[in-house]
Every structure is written in structure tokens, then in C-alpha cells.
């Protein structure tokens, strides 16, 4: 395993959300986006002029609106700034966080604002997902359907460098220790492989924990905000993410280990089954995990101190994003050469 070290440390210093609802006729897309951006700026104690770059994400095919980042710029504040657009399905929000992490860690930008949004009520999500399959070999045979709830809403997060954190932040910074993305072409006959591929969640967790020297993830993490679009998937997925064997995950469930006062609380936010504005959904996982670390999760703050948090994103075609958030900037870089 090669050494994993970031070029620079990156902190989450601002978090903003809208309300999430299946009825947002009172706001257009620009207004909804701006609400999240304004909330994130207020949380960070920054002004839009302090932002060096914007990363915008949604699934444009779901609303049937092309290049929404362009007219959303009134709401994102991207006018006159560098901007990137990210569209990676269900994982969009988590990919936004990964992109912002990389943009800041690289040193390209000091402070980056990422905004994930969706207005699923306006669009035809299943129609959009159906077009995910390879048109030559699979689209006639299989269709996609949205397996979760559908919501309207937006989430914005602000990321900055360690150098800028040292100059002071309004709220305690939450550090992005590491992130990983694993995906594969999800098809009936498995386009690439002669063998059954490793579950992407398992591959992501195994690789991420190994390169960060985390031997026992259940013991190490204090909370897990998991992208779980359907309630019954969570149980199987917990086995993959925590590298458990056999029915260990079921025994843990029965023992209450995943409860909010258990060994490793899962989704105190209510998770994706509570709200699913797709472009924001996977960003809400690290956003909520970061709020838990800060102690700012309000009514759903878990009781024990949260120092190490895990957050995941999920999307077609079995695309997994997994990231580790830390309260303290005190972890050891691990070299497994």
C-alpha cells in the first residue's frame, strides 16, 4: 500500500442547509441554492468575496435543465470566480466534497465553496436514471428506478486550508483526513470481470482504513453518516463498511450497537430515507457528520463526544465515496510500504 499523505490539510469551516421538502413551489432553483450558500457563509462568518472557487453539483438530467450552474450563479455567487460542475449521480454531493478537498489540498485555492442541490419534484428522476445503462448492450434489457425518497433542497459547505484555519475560524474546524472513491460498471453480466467483483463499499472501506492504519473501525469511529437510500439496504451495507464477517452485523444490530446511544451510532440525521435531494444528499452525510463533531447537530446530536466520524456517499453504478472526518489535526500519516 503506497503512502497516503495529502499535499495540505483541509478543514470544513462552514455548513449551510435549506429545509428539505417535497413541496418547494415557493422557491425557484436559484433562490433555493442561495439560501444554502447564505447559511454556509453565515456559519463560517465569511462573505462571498472570501470564496476563491465554487464547485456546483446536481443531476441536470433529473430536472431536464442543462448547465444549471450557469444561471444558478446568481445564487451560488460564482460570478467572476472559477467554477467547476460535478455530476456523478447519487454520489454528486460526496464527489463535491472530494473535489473541494482536492482543490484546497492541492494549493490551487485557499477557500472553496461547494454547493449540492436538487429539485426532484420538478423533474422525472426515474426517466433520467433509465438512461444510465449502456445503450448498446443493456438499456433495452434493464431500466433504472429511483429506489429512495424524492426531495427538494440544497446543502453548501465551505472548505479552507490549514494555513487559513490558523488565522482563526468562527466555528471549530472539522478536518477531512482522507477520502476514497470506488466505482464499477454495474451490469447484469459484469462488463469488466471474469470474477464477481468485490463490493465497492467493502473495497472502499478496506483500502481507506488500511492506508490510515485503522484496524478496528467500529471501535475507532464515533458516528457513521451512511448514504442508505432504502432502509433495508443499510444492514447489509454496514457489514461491508465495517469489514464484518458472517452475521456479525445482525448480532450488532440486535445488541443495539447502531442505536444513537450505541457503540457506533448510524445516521443520527435521519439519513437518506428522511430526505433525498439527490445532488445534496451525499453532501449532507459529511455535513451532518461534521456537525456531530462540532456538537452543533441540535436535536439529533448524539450524547457521547464525537472525535472521529465516517461518512459515505452512494450512487449508480455502485459508486461508493467514503471519507474520514476528524475533530483534531493529530492523526499519524501511515506508511504501509
Amino acid at each position: 500500500m503506497k503512502k497516503h499523505a495529502k499535499n495540505g490539510n483541509v478543514a470544513i469551516i462552514g455548513i449551510g442547509q435549506t429545509s428539505f421538502s417535497s413541496h418547494k413551489e415557493d422557491q425557484n432553483q436559484v433562490e433555493m441554492v442561495q439560501e444554502a450558500v447564505i447559511n454556509a457563509l453565515a456559519d463560517a462568518g465569511l462573505k462571498i468575496g472570501d470564496i476563491d472557487c465554487i464547485v456546483h453539483g446536481n443531476m441536470e438530467l433529473f430536472e431536464m435543465q442543462f448547465a444549471p450552474d450557469l444561471w444558478h450563479s446568481l445564487g451560488t455567487g460564482a460570478y467572476g470566480k472559477d467554477e467547476y460542475r460535478i455530476t456523478t449521480g447519487g454520489t454528486t454531493g460526496a464527489t463535491l466534497v472530494c473535489a473541494a478537498d482536492n482543490l484546497v489540498a492541492s494549493g490551487l485555492y485557499g477557500t472553496v465553496l461547494a454547493i449540492g442541490m436538487e429539485k426532484l419534484q420538478e423533474g422525472n428522476t426515474t426517466g433520467g436514471i433509465t438512461n444510465m445503462a449502456d445503450p448498446l448492450w443493456f438499456r433495452n434489457l434493464q431500466t433504472g428506478a429511483l429506489t429512495g425518497t424524492t426531495s427538494d433542497g440544497a446543502c453548501a459547505m465551505i472548505f479552507t486550508s490549514e494555513e487559513k484555519v490558523k488565522q482563526g475560524t468562527k466555528n471549530p474546524p472539522v478536518w477531512i483526513r482522507d477520502h476514497i472513491q470506488v466505482h464499477r460498471e454495474e451490469t447484469i453480466p459484469n462488463l469488466f470481470g471474469f470474477n464477481k467483483p468485490e463490493m465497492t463499499h467493502h473495497c472502499a472501506a478496506r483500502t481507506l482504513f488500511a492506508r490510515n492504519g485503522i484496524q478496528d473501525p467500529v471501535a475507532y469511529f464515533d458516528v457513521f453518516e451512511m448514504y442508505d437510500p432504502s432502509a433495508w439496504w443499510a444492514v447489509d451495507w454496514l457489514r461491508e463498511f465495517f469489514l464484518l464477517k458472517g452475521d456479525e452485523h445482525l448480532r450488532m444490530l440486535e445488541a443495539g450497537d447502531f442505536d444513537l446511544d450505541g457503540r457506533i451510532p448510524i445516521n443520527p440525521s435521519g439519513g437518506v430515507i428522511a430526505s433525498n435531494p439527490i445532488g445534496a444528499t451525499a453532501m449532507l452525510r459529511p455535513a451532518e457528520a461534521a456537525l456531530q463533531i462540532r456538537g452543533d447537530a441540535g436535536g439529533h446530536q448524539i450524547k457521547k463526544e464525537v472525535r472521529h466520524a465516517l461518512a459515505s456517499g452512494f450512487g449508480g453504478t455502485f459508486w461508493t465515496v467514503l471519507m474520514i472526518l476528524e475533530k483534531e489535526l493529530n492523526w499519524q500519516e501511515v506508511n504501509h510500504d
Binding site: 425557484n28 462573505k47 435543465q65 423533474g123
Partner: protein
């Protein structure tokens, strides 16, 4: 030199996407449209801090990010054609038969232009700087087409 591609025995799959969708005008956008529909008035939102009046409506001043959602001002229904292009191709989704003029009209009292169709002048003779006035639609649809077009004063 002419390239000769060989597509003998190469199949093409025909697809057709038809995905119904909506777009919410929002509370401000709806109020803007209602003023046009019911009162034949065009309203803008003014930032007192920057002294700029925006149309179509927006919740926040784009310059200083002050919330201006409640600061409605009535604009003139006349203004200056500040820019234009001539649409010369026809398609089913287009609102008029080509050729027609698509203009940017800065209404009296506004600082930003409104995009709309300009009629009543030959596309070969139109010039930036002419005065135009709104002609409201006889049949309303709760869209920006409740202004049917602008024409020279």
C-alpha cells in the same frame, strides 16, 4: 481530398427521450408574472444600497448580497433596446416564425435588460438605442409570454 467512411453493416440504435418536467417560478417570480397578467405592470426589485434595480426579479442584490425581495418598484412598460439579434431559423419550439428580432430591453427605471421579442420593425432596419414599448398578450399563460412582444414607440 474526400474521406470515404465505410459503414457497411454498421447498425445505429434509435432512441427517444421524452421526460416531462416542471420549473417552479418561486414566490417572487410568480408575483412578477401576476403583476403583468392582472395589472399590466412590470415590476423590478431595487437594492437601496447599490441603487440598482433588477429585472427579472431576484431575491438578493447580485453586487452586495443584500436581501431585496420586498423592495418592489414599478418600472415603465417602455424602454430602450440595448442589444438584439435576429433569429433566422425556424423550429417547432420557437415562439414566432422567423425571421424575428430577439432584443434586450432596458425598461425605464431598470438597470438590467429584459429579453423579449421585438416586432413592428423590419429586422433589416432595427438598431440598438430605439425606444420600444410592451404589448401585453390578450390570452395569459402565467409566463413571460404574458408580454406578447415589444414594438417601437
Amino acid at each position: 481530398m474526400t474521406m470515404q467512411e465505410d459503414h457497411k453493416d454498421c447498425f445505429v440504435l434509435e432512441g427517444k427521450m421524452a421526460l416531462p418536467n416542471q420549473y417552479f417560478a418561486g414566490r417572487l417570480g410568480s408575483r412578477f408574472l401576476i403583476a403583468i397578467r392582472d395589472r399590466k405592470k412590470i415590476m423590478g426589485l431595487k437594492c437601496n444600497q447599490c441603487g440598482k434595480t433588477f429585472v427579472p426579479p431576484r431575491e438578493y442584490c447580485e453586487k452586495c448580497w443584500t436581501k431585496i425581495a420586498d423592495n418592489w418598484v414599478e418600472l415603465g412598460t417602455e424602454g430602450e433596446l440595448v442589444n438584439f439579434t435576429v433569429v433566422r431559423y425556424g423550429d417547432r419550439h420557437l415562439p414566432k416564425k422567423p425571421p424575428y428580432i430577439l432584443g434586450q430591453i432596458r425598461l425605464d427605471g431598470a438597470d438590467t435588460p429584459l429579453v423579449h421579442i421585438v416586432e413592428g420593425i423590419d429586422p433589416r432596419e432595427v438598431e440598438s438605442g430605439i425606444r420600444v414599448k410592451a404589448v401585453f398578450a390578450a390570452k395569459t399563460t402565467n409566463t413571460i409570454m404574458d408580454i406578447d412582444h415589444f414594438e417601437p414607440v
